[in-house]
């Protein structure tokens, strides 16, 4: 029971986090005129606390009824609560409020006013209201902290300059709490810069973690995440063409440098490096040419021993903080100081060196797509030697203790027959003719089987969550049909449709579209889990295949028609003269089966799992579609993508936006949500033997539909995407 609760709560964490983040943004926005927005924080109830509360409350449905699963706190000075509370009551529907004498808040205690509010509709992700395992309320705590500094006078100047792109981030190194941030934060507004440091603290980072490659890689990913959050933050009001600037020190330079190479959508205006540990041949000149950074200043210290030694211990580092970089560019400057590793943070130095550089006015270098290779950094031989010694000592001890065989077994390769077994057992993932009544039994066994294979594939840590993400799709097996083999109204791929009198063969620009598929929905009913597609009627998919092949496709070049009346009134349509012969698809009879699918590796769902690099590789190699059907036609489920996640493109297609022109601000925020509304309706693979069609280089067609449209049985906003190798 406790485990169930624990798992059920954990399973929704990403959803609750999304709501908590949205609420934090809302609250900050609403209170921006009353309190410092960095005094507003939202968090989720810890899983163990939730389980304890659930046990204490003995409520029948704790996932819904525990009221403070999302908790926000606003720190205010003693004179602020009435105005803050009034504002909160104006904008949120509060159902209860009471004063607590004190409240534990990060170790300190404050008199606190707790408001219980209804979660407002605008922060709810799609499908929230339809779920029966989510809370309806959140708790907002207004904590009175007399020690809080007075809110600075109206920061009109700062806001004005921030909207002009004068936003500065800080990024600290290892074994520090980044005390220099406070000086930078003090000086920034005086020079018209909005200094953002709150999110840029990653805590005290010990040296033993620093030498571990995966720990450094995690920080690079963390950087990407924080950058996105900052860009999306309402206080960072950057518009197109404006990018933030950054000051990075020591390990911060490593994180920054590696993130810039790994994620080319990251953009910075000015970059200041001090005590850099990047390799000397790091390609700042190429990054400037690419337009990814506008100007760079490197400050290095002749008394800095650490940057000189670091390359012997840590891969991908170098002594650029001791000797400078080797590259040159008119937008790149370097200066040597008689400093040691951490002597760059005097206020006087910042005033004299950093802010004049930040004011350097240069025309914006546009972004180009030149590729940049990795630096040829030296190997950390000292570290390798230390590893070798450690392993030698470890093996020696293990042998002495008789543990060697057991340990060696742990490192043995997974036997090759594991993979074979997986494919031999694929039928356990495919439900061909079983009636709907035993669907649940099949579903349960498929989940168990999937979990087993995920664990065997080295994905035990996330196996449960991946099983949660599993989606059932309807596999379509197509076989060429001979003339007269199919009756009127039979399901088919390709060929000619059977249409009622009131539906004409769709055209685009005077050219008839090819029939991609015709489904008698009765045929699918046994596999139509939860009736996600209509249980009765006919569903037709048409598209102008020439437009797709020539890349001139767009809204209007495809059509999906749902006919819900009696299929007995259908008549075979005669092929219009305007349908080019080469566009026609060979008629195939179809058979259906249920199968399972998992999200493709490059989707948001998988990104949220925060896979380690090793797990990423394993997942990429994992056959996520439960089988490898070729050709792979199916209804619903996840798509077998060849390129990137298409959902955002679906949104932009319908919104008439050009995806290429979007800025990063769009990518990580609202469109992530919007694209999650899109789900796959039908995937049609290249099928030379069946349909007689090869879409580009073994490409696939994907018909997408928004979840709400599917529920409303509205197929007028379906979006067709095409991908090939």
């Amino acid at each position: 029971m406790v485990d169930d609760l624990h798992n059920a709560y954990e399973a929704r964490l990403s959803l609750l986090t999304h709501v908590a983040n949205a609420l934090e943004q809302e609250t900050r926005d609403y209170l921006s005129e009353l309190v410092n927005t960095n005094q507003v924080r939202f968090r989720l109830l810890e899983t163990d606390d939730f389980v304890t509360k659930a046990k204490q409350s003995r409520s029948a449905d704790p996932l819904v009824e525990i009221e403070d699963q999302i908790v926000g706190s606003v720190m205010v000075r003693p004179d602020a609560p009435p105005a803050v509370e009034q504002r909160l009551q104006d904008v949120f529907s509060a159902v209860q409020g009471n004063w607590q004498d004190s409240s534990d808040n990060g170790g300190a205690t404050f008199p606190t006013r707790c408001l219980l509010c209804l979660i407002p509709p605008q922060v709810k992700p799609p499908g929230w209201d339809a779920r029966n395992d989510v809370p309806k309320t959140f708790e907002l705590r207004v904590c009175v902290d007399p020690t809080l500094p007075a809110r600075p006078p109206d920061t009109g100047d700062v806001i004005t300059t921030a909207t002009e792109g004068r936003v500065l981030f800080g990024l600290h190194g290892i074994r520090t709490h980044a005390d220099w941030y406070s000086d930078l934060t003090d000086l920034g507004p005086k020079h018209g810069w909005l200094v953002r440091t709150g999110r840029w603290r990653f805590g005290y980072f010990p040296i033993w973690l620093f030498v571990l490659p995966f720990a450094r890689e995690m920080k690079v990913r963390w950087f990407r995440k924080v950058y996105r959050e900052e860009i999306q933050d309402r206080d960072v009001d950057l518009v197109d063409g404006q990018h933030p600037s950054i000051v990075a020190h020591s390990f911060g330079t490593y994180i920054l440098g590696n993130a810039l190479l790994k994620y080319d959508w990251l953009r910075f205006n000015k970059v200041i490096l001090c005590g850099s540990i990047l390799p000397q041949d790091y390609p700042w000149d190429r990054l400037i040419e690419r337009g990814q950074v506008q100007t760079v200043r490197n400050e290095y210290g002749m008394k800095d021993p650490w940057t000189r030694l670091v390359r012997w211990f840590v891969a991908g580092t170098g002594p650029s903080g001791r000797y400078g970089f080797t590259c040159s560019h008119e937008r790149f400057e370097q200066e040597e100081f008689a400093y040691d590793h951490s002597e760059y943070f005097e206020k006087g130095h910042m005033e004299a060196k950093w802010f004049p550089f930040l004011e350097w006015q240069l025309p914006l270098a546009p972004f180009t797509t030149i590729s940049i290779g990795r630096s040829q950094s030296s190997r950390p031989w000292v570290l390798y030697a230390a590893y070798a010694v450690l392993i030698f000592v470890f093996v020696l001890i293990a042998k002495r203790c008789g543990l060697y065989d057991g340990i060696a077994g742990l490192f043995a390769r997974v036997p090759a027959h594991t993979q074979t077994t997986y494919f031999e057992q694929r039928d356990s993932f495919t439900r061909r003719t079983t009636p709907n009544a035993i669907y649940n039994e099949w579903n349960d066994s498929a989940k168990k089987e999937l979990k087993k294979h995920l664990e065997r594939g080295g994905l035990s840590r996330v196996a449960d969550r991946l099983v949660e993400l599993m989606d059932v799709s309807i596999l379509i097996q197509a076989t060429p049909a001979s003339d007269g083999e199919l009756r009127v109204g039979d399901s088919r791929l390709g060929g000619t449709p059977d249409l009622p009198d009131n539906i004409s063969w769709p055209e685009y620009n005077g050219v008839a579209m090819a029939l991609v598929a015709q489904f008698r929905l009765d045929d699918i009913a046994a596999y139509n889990v939860d009736e996600r597609i209509p249980p009765r009627g006919m569903l037709y998919f048409f598209c102008e295949t020439e437009a797709i092949m020539t890349g001139t496709d767009g809204i209007g070049t495809w059509k999906v028609i749902y006919y819900c009346d009696n299929p007995s009134s259908l008549k075979p349509a005669s092929i219009p003269a305007t349908l080019p012969k080469k566009s026609r698809l060979r008629m195939c009879r179809v058979a259906f089966a249920n199968t399972i699918t998992l999200p493709p590796a490059e989707t948001k769902e998988i990104e949220l799992l925060k896979l380690t690099p090793v797990e990423e590789k394993r997942y990429a190699a994992f056959p996520v579609y439960g089988f490898e059907a070729v050709p792979f036609h199916h209804l619903l489920g996840y798509p077998a993508t060849i390129q990137n996640d298409m959902r955002q493109h679906c949104s932009t297609t319908w919104n008439g936006l050009d995806q290429q022109k979007e800025n990063p601000k769009v990518h990580g925020t609202t469109q992530d949500l919007e694209k999650s509304e899109w789900r796959l309706l039908l995937q049609i693979d290249s099928d030379k033997d069946g349909l007689g069609a090869l879409w580009g280089d073994a490409g696939r067609m994907y018909f997408w539909i928004r979840e709400q449209d599917l529920q409303k049985r509205d197929f007028s906003h379906v979006c067709l995407m095409f991908q090939c190798h």
Partner: protein, 344 residues
């Protein structure tokens, strides 16, 4: 859901009558039959009630929110979950309450309350159908007969109102619901105050669609109240918000971001104070369906925005279809401005 409880009352406006002198509304429980269930089900669908604007019950009524209660919510829950006597008392109290907040500007109304169930889930729907007049036409051998009916309640009147609440019998259920009020074309406005604010004791919990419709409505009304360059400013705002990467807006934010001077003031004045700061997720398709403008983006980042009635063959703005879609616009320039396109 299975309809299991149906009450109806004829409610007459009694706001100006002292509370102890108010007459009890006539009505009570009615048997549920297939015909009425079908009519009410159809009405629910045709009114799109489950997707209308959301409202939240106001708690306590006092500023300190010490108690978690709202009298109307409790009556609605009594009606949906209570025993028959309790449900009856709740419906009478609701009918009495409705009469008490209606004044003579409103016609007598048929208050119909239905409760449906599906396991432990309950749905309570409150319908208010205004009294109307109609003709009854009856052909007979001696000739057709027309009769004026003055005591009918119209189920399709634009003055009809509804509220829907659903959930389980839990502390946090039945705090939010949906309302329909066609009288004020978007579900909002002073004329509707008696239904939402006074009768139901609710406040708006704005959703994207509702908020976007509201924004479009206020933009339209502001547009109609200004002229010349002020209209240009509103045009620009309409163009810019469609392509803005920011999706969550409030009326106040919109005004701050896109409007200036007199237009900003007029726009803010047209918005009810309660809605000024409520944020909502902007829905482009809803906005465009509501505001009949076509906005064309041409190569070189040129935008052309035109009212629908100016676009088409033989009109000022023509679209030439060919391999490339082209736009031709012709007209006399009467004004021009230089400005930045924000949020584009």
């Amino acid at each position: 859901m299975e309809l299991f409880r149906l009450y109806a009352f004829e409610v007459t406006p009694q706001r100006k009558i002292a509370s102890d002198e108010r007459a009890s509304p006539a009505g009570g429980a009615f048997p549920v039959n297939t015909e009425i269930q079908e009519i009410l089900d159809n009405l629910l669908v045709s009114s799109k009630l489950p997707t209308q604007a959301t409202v939240d019950f106001r708690a306590d009524g006092s500023a300190n929110l010490q108690q978690r209660r709202n009298i109307v919510r409790e009556l609605v829950m009594d009606f949906a979950f209570g025993t028959p006597p309790k449900a009856k008392a709740a419906t009478q109290a609701l009918a009495q309450r409705l009469g008490g907040v209606m004044d003579d500007r409103s016609p007598p109304t048929l208050l119909m309350l239905t409760a449906s169930r599906n396991g432990s889930d309950r749905r309570a729907t409150l319908w208010a159908f205004p009294q109307d007049e109609g003709f009854q036409f009856r052909p007979s051998r001696s000739g057709a007969r027309i009769k004026v009916l003055k005591d009918i309640f119209s189920r399709s009147s634009r003055l009809r109102k509804a509220a829907l609440f659903e959930g389980k019998k839990r502390r946090m259920d039945f705090w939010s619901g949906r309302i329909l009020d066609l009288q004020s074309t978007g579900g909002f406005g002073k004329a509707a105050d008696y239904w939402i604010t006074s009768f139901l004791e609710c406040r708006f919990g704005m959703e994207g669609e509702a908020g976007t419709k509201l924004l479009a409505k206020y933009l339209q009304s502001t547009y109609e109240s200004v002229s010349g360059t002020d209209r240009e400013q509103l045009y620009s705002a309409m163009v810019a918000i469609r392509t803005s990467p920011k999706q969550t807006w409030s009326m106040a934010q919109f005004a701050r971001q896109y409007l200036q001077d007199d237009v900003k003031e007029r726009f803010v004045q047209s918005v009810s104070p309660e809605q000024l700061n409520l944020s909502f997720k902007f829905q482009r398709d809803v906005f465009e369906a509501k505001l009949n403008f076509r906005v064309f983006q041409l190569e070189n980042n040129i935008y052309v925005s035109a009212p629908f009635d100016t676009v088409g063959d033989n009109k000022a703005v023509r679209i030439l279809d060919g391999q490339q879609r082209k736009l031709r616009c012709e007209g006399v320039v009467v004004n021009e401005q230089v400005r930045s396109r924000r949020g584009g």
